[in-house]
Symmetry: C2
Subunit: 395 residues, 2 copies
């Protein structure tokens, strides 16, 4: 038996971790742009990276470490992705870390970056952060601000997990990413810290399992940015371990943050769950659900609050999965707009579906009635704000 309790703050509350963020002038706004996460003792770490063939320098820098490496220092910057910068981009990270204060005893330091592609890091500017950081502070909020790019709000969460007869542990995260993850290639970064005594050999599996229905449900594999990163870092300081409790808490965190990213969709106003159920295979359910969450015509219809279910049907049909128009049932929340080819949508049904679409969040469900596999993808509307934000992201 265990209880999961959301508590205030972010990664501040996890034993063994310190964090903070400062401004070194990368963001013209003067907001925080460089963050650190550190621990006194080396931590086990597990990471999921982008499938993009052009992985950014910080990812390739990470991969140079051996399988079982531990770390006690993570540096994160915004405004510059350090991507498409070749071997020099990796060397720049080493150069930067060479100027870390000796007193920190940084072991296998990790860097993570987000921002514009194709520019070398400004090393002197970023190194200035090492003078500005209060390394013994617990300021998750400042770190969460520093990693934001087009995000409209900060993303952080902390959970306290009480396990009967064993004690309690914490798990927390900061995250950046603003909807449209796919197909827009907007970068998402997520750093999850925990003081649970998680066995190293389970970390990868648990993290991948949690990402499957969360970050992976808002992002199609392979169609991701050069920098996408989800990292789990464990201090083990609580000494408590319960696989079931930890797995559930980790899934809670990743799902929560994935939905926060969708909610913060660039210029979007609505979060929509696209459920494809009773498909022949999980693969087909996922394919169709993600096709829906990525369709421009579906996104703009949601923006226009137009219950044009023909676009839903057409997208499912175009996704290449097995489907039958005589069996398909389409619903907007509880409103059935299409059931086989039995009848046209009545004016009353259309009005009811239009009402559902006025909500900030709702579900569009396609029942294929062919098998028993289901998948839900999450998406948002696409409106004028998206165009404004992305027509000149670099400015």
């Amino acid at each position: 038996m265990f209880d999961i309790l959301p508590i205030k703050g972010g990664i501040d509350n996890v034993k063994g971790f310190f964090s903070g963020g400062v401004s070194v002038g990368l963001k013209p706004s003067g907001k925080n742009d460089v963050a650190f996460i550190r621990s006194d003792e080396p931590c086990d770490v597990s990471a999921i990276f982008t499938q993009n063939k052009f992985q950014a320098a910080p990812i390739r820098h990470f991969k140079r470490y051996g399988e079982t490496f531990a770390t006690n220092f993570i540096l994160i910057n915004s405004k510059n992705a350090n991507a498409m910068t070749g071997k020099e981009g990796i060397d720049d990270i080493d150069t930067l870390f060479a100027s870390l204060p000796q007193s920190l005893k940084a072991l296998n330091p990790i860097m993570s970056s987000t921002g514009v592609i194709g520019y070398r890091l400004n090393i002197p500017k970023i190194a200035k952060a090492f003078e500005l950081f209060s390394f013994n502070t617990k300021n998750s909020n400042a770190a969460a601000e520093a990693i934001m790019t087009t995000d409209r709000f900060k993303k952080e969460i902390c959970l306290k997990v009480d396990v009967e007869g064993k004690g309690s542990f914490h798990i927390a995260a900061i995250c950046k990413g603003a909807g449209m993850i796919n197909p827009s290639l907007a970068t998402m970064l997520c750093f999850i810290t925990t003081d649970a005594n998680v066995p190293k050999e389970l970390m990868n599996d648990l993290l991948n399992e949690a990402a499957k229905d969360s970050f992976n449900a808002i992002s199609v594999d392979g169609d991701t940015s050069t920098n996408d990163t989800v990292m789990l870092i464990s201090s083990a300081k609580s000494g408590v371990w319960d696989k079931e409790a930890f797995s559930e808490a980790l899934k809670f965190i990743t799902k929560h943050l994935a939905l926060e990213i969708v909610k913060d969709g660039e210029g979007s106003k609505k979060v929509v769950a696209f459920e494809v159920k009773n498909a022949l295979s999980l693969d087909e359910a996922e394919k169709a659900a993600k096709a829906l969450s990525n369709s421009l015509l579906v996104k703009t219809a949601i923006f226009g609050e137009d219950p044009n279910w023909g676009r839903i049907a057409s997208t499912v049909g175009a996704s290449g999965i097995t489907c039958d128009e005589e069996k398909l049932i389409i619903k907007y929340d509880d409103v059935v707009v299409y059931i086989g080819t039995k009848k046209e949508m009545s004016k009353e049904t259309e009005a009811a579906a239009a009402k559902v679409m006025k909500k900030d969040s709702f579900k569009i469900s396609c029942d294929l009635a062919l098998g028993d596999k289901s998948f839900t993808a999450y998406g948002c509307d696409l409106g004028h704000e998206y165009v404004n934000i992305n027509a000149d992201y670099r400015s």
Copy 2:
């Protein structure tokens, strides 16, 4: 030796064909909404249809005819796709054709539809067109208007082909479709008529070959609407046949119309050719080129005239093809913005690339420097007009 000469008009000028369009009140604007194409004698016909699993009723109606059927009558309506209408949707077409004037001696009549999904055809309304049509007119222009939906301009073309020592034939087409074909699922319809004496057994191959670098370069297979149709109809009335001349003229027509569709991209202002060259395989070149033409971030950057080549690189990397950032060269027309990881884009280069992007039409080229296969996909920008048009397409 042969000469291809564009001449005025559309399918009017092809021997043996009559066409026209009228308004029966499907379009609230009162513009033409039903068209016909007919010939006195039965014609051979070849067609390419959407890969969508939910093929519209007119396509399934067509497919009921045998392999070698000939036709002398095609009816086309806009505003209603007759898709997701089940067996009843097919029966409706038969009911409609039952009221065709006996005097027409319609043989294996074909229907084609475009518009909103999920509604039965209004048979009495459409049948009214049979009273309004002047069946002996040659009014391609009126037909081209009748098949338009969100198109901003009519699309028709006619070519006269002079073949040395053999004589001349004509090939012409009307077409509808407004950019964003993929991933927007906007329907495209294209009807190509010819009086060339094209052998029936070559028609499919020639049409598919021509579509490959034209309609297929603006539309990813499988991600198409319920109604997409390209049809080639031959009256053979010129008696002239020259495979090479016909093939070239057919490619000219399909390429011209494909680019017209991109140019008419919903709310778009620019036509961009995305060339991926020196890939390991044609498949990979095509995959990356189409990923570029479909990327939201690329489309919005083009709208914003922002030479943010990082989005180009990231999209190529995310497309899953083999690529190497040390070898890649990216150009905007003749301006090299990225060459390996050798240097950052200078202010001068950025200014030159920005200048290219101000043009109505330009080329973004990615040289992978890995093999010798190339593919060019065509796309357009995505701006506010697209959102306006698609937020409420049905109104």
